[in-house]
Symmetry: C2
Subunit: 439 residues, 2 copies
């Protein structure tokens, strides 16, 4: 294993030393990140903008510039590496989400959130998959297997918790925030779990036993991942409490928290669980137990350090998605049939709207039945907001789409190419539009 690690390190850095160009690109990227923060801040008065959109736009511009400088020859301007995303960028975001969530609100609405996050995702997953089968079978867009259709369902059932976080204010609308955001995270986990489950099964011919296995593995993954996260969090609390880490150094405490959180994520990956769910609950437990056993300065540091990490990761992702959106190859493949691509995107958007409506309103109704006090109930207006806010499809969808429809970033197959481009379209469109509507 040691060899793998050394290889990993070598590979990850061979470029940086070896050739000078990569240093240039590193500089470019870091500089762009800075630019996103500054510009995003300057445009903040303009409520139509925020760092994400800024990063998206800057990314697109950069992509265009690079395309022009390379005369459109570089067909892979910036390949989206779903590994970079899942190993380095997503963990801090989800961990921070769990760490910063208002637990009181979160657990008061726990059942509702679980309803939305788990059941709701399943519903929209089924609807989108069914719709995809129904529509795409007619318009021949390459060869899509049953697994692909289910994957499409999972991909577009994944709301973008990252982006959702930025359009609702935890203090102004605590209920809405906890619902939409909590759902977003559980939903992330759910759809990733779904996605893994799909990929790990032979779906050429479904029967009851497979369906049962499917459900079984889903719940296994869900519970096991949660448990792992909780255990990791409690362990960190125990260690820090028992060893009186605070006695000498804040740095040890912070370091230990970060390392153990990441370790929980990596362990989840090791056991083929859902690292997202794990690290999310690890974050919740850490903020609930560990956080109260550390020094005052540790509290401030962790609170902001984690937020910063997540903040940078988010910008990184949107910048990345923006730059990647212009990968020519995929577009070249669909250039001959633009109408079809647009059609697919439109259908997918419609299905997303439908699939979301199909669970937000019924489930809200259900949860309202359980609530006594009227202010705890979810009003129609709030339901609409939840419905709309959840339309955003972001980096998670992108990552999953690439995982399913590209082999090492290449999109040779016609159907796959269309799927990728449609995903990008949906992501860009839904992010920008539904964003603006809410604000």
């Amino acid at each position: 294993m040691a060899i793998e690690l050394s290889n990993l390190m070598e590979r990850s850095l061979s470029m940086l030393s070896s050739d000078h160009k990569s240093v240039v690109s590193m500089n470019l990227f870091v500089a762009l990140l800075c630019a996103c923060i500054v510009i995003g801040h300057l445009l903040e008065e303009n409520r139509w903008m925020n760092e994400s959109i800024t990063a998206l736009i800057i990314g697109l511009c950069t992509g265009i510039v690079i395309l022009l400088t390379t005369n459109g020859t570089s067909s892979h301007v910036l390949m989206f590496s779903e590994d970079l995303f899942f190993i380095y960028l997503l963990p801090p975001i989800i961990f921070n989400a769990g760490f910063q969530v208002k637990k009181k609100q979160f657990f008061r609405n726990f059942m509702t959130i679980m309803l939305f996050g788990a059941v709701g995702t399943l519903i929209s997953f089924v609807i989108i998959s069914a719709g995809a089968v129904h529509f795409f079978k007619q318009m021949n867009i390459g060869t899509l297997k049953i697994g692909d259709y289910l994957a499409i369902g999972a991909i577009f059932a994944a709301t973008d918790s990252v982006c959702t976080l930025q359009v609702l204010n935890q203090d102004e609308t605590p209920l809405l925030y906890s619902l939409v955001f909590g759902e977003g995270v559980v939903n992330d986990a759910t759809s990733v779990v779904l996605f893994n489950a799909i990929q790990s099964f032979d779906l050429s011919h479904i029967n009851l036993s497979i369906a049962l296995k499917f459900v079984g593995s889903f719940f296994y993954l869900f519970i096991a991942s949660t448990m792992l996260g909780v255990i990791a969090g409690l362990l960190s609390a125990f260690i820090i409490k028992k060893l009186y880490m605070g006695r000498h150094s804040t740095d040890r405490e912070v370091a230990l928290m970060i390392l153990m959180a990441y370790l929980s994520y990596m362990l989840a990956e090791l056991f083929y669980l859902s690292g997202i769910l794990t690290v999310f609950f690890c974050g919740i437990v850490m903020s609930h137990y560990t956080w109260h056993n550390v020094t005052e300065s540790s509290r401030v540091t962790t609170k902001h350090a984690f937020a910063t990490l997540s903040f940078v990761a988010e910008i990184f992702i949107f910048l990345y998605v923006g730059m990647d959106a212009l990968d020519i190859e995929k577009w070249r493949v669909v250039r001959d049939s633009p109408g079809k691509s647009v059609g697919v995107s439109a259908i997918l958007l419609g299905l997303v709207l439908l699939g979301r409506a199909a669970f937000v309103f019924p489930l809200s109704f259900l949860s309202n039945l359980t609530k006594k006090s009227s202010h705890e109930k979810i009003g129609l207006k709030q339901q609409l907001t939840i419905w709309w806010a959840g339309l955003m499809r972001g980096a998670v969808s992108m990552a999953l789409a690439y995982k399913q429809f590209t082999s090492s970033g290449h999109t040779k197959l016609h159907g796959n190419a269309i799927m990728i481009t449609s995903t990008i379209t949906v992501v860009l469109f839904s992010t920008v539009v539904s964003h603006h509507h809410i604000l």
Copy 2:
């Protein structure tokens, strides 16, 4: 350039997704880091131990275990990648060093520190190089060119500021601390500058013009690097002050500081300057100007976040050095002549002692002449401490040694192999021993 970046990202992560083994090794490494922190803390009462030594030992043990599990077949248990070190691990450490340094003390003793750091390093560099030429020419240890001898001088003129930091207390002995530590950093920079200068010149035949070019490039690198760091720091201060970053978010400020610090380092690399010196002065400027323009929570966060980063990076390095020390190949090469290897190590240690003595005492005397008040003068006991504390050779020496004497981690040549092994010996020995003596 985009392509390079994408490649970089792909490479850096291809393993993590592709094969499962690497996830295992990631887990192992993160777990070991946690272990180092916890155990290091438990052993803290024992003044003979600290995280570094713990990490070193744990690393060695792990290396042994891996060797046994692979039946000694894996000749590269963990190749030390000087890139990983110089790109990811060293910057946070040096930046934090600059950020945390007591500026008042530092600048009061600035001249003395510069004397020690720059002139002193040059003196010991000359002595060690000369000594190496004198001794190693007799005992035939493979083919060493003049460049190699000069490299040896640079390598062993580099004290380990990382390790030095841990043996002196900034509050108990402020003068000593600021001197030894300040020297350590300037020395780091100096020796790296020296090293680069050596590598970038054809030294097969030295004459006056080349010598002058050498000195010139040395001063150019030194000044340019410092300037770049200062400018980057001031720019960050300007941006944060002008844009009132504090108005909304602490995270933006912290993110911007980290990113700009790293950017300064990468820019230095881009222009072939000394990133270390750049990021060190960037740290100083940031802590002096930027830090006073940010919110209170940003101050606490940056202070501890940077310290934590540096802390983890240090442990990482020592763990890594420990694991790497057992790379069989090098040892196999020198197995036939163990006595020679020991001899070389001994000679090098002696030269280090001599070279250090040759500038600490004279330069202390010089600086004492400039001081009026007696308590500012450097007493003999203090001079001894400075002399001894600077004996530690650490990760920097390792990294430089690998850079010079290995081609992509391989140590085929006899002379090179001996040099590497001797370096490891000197590092382990000096770290452990001089450490204990001081404490």
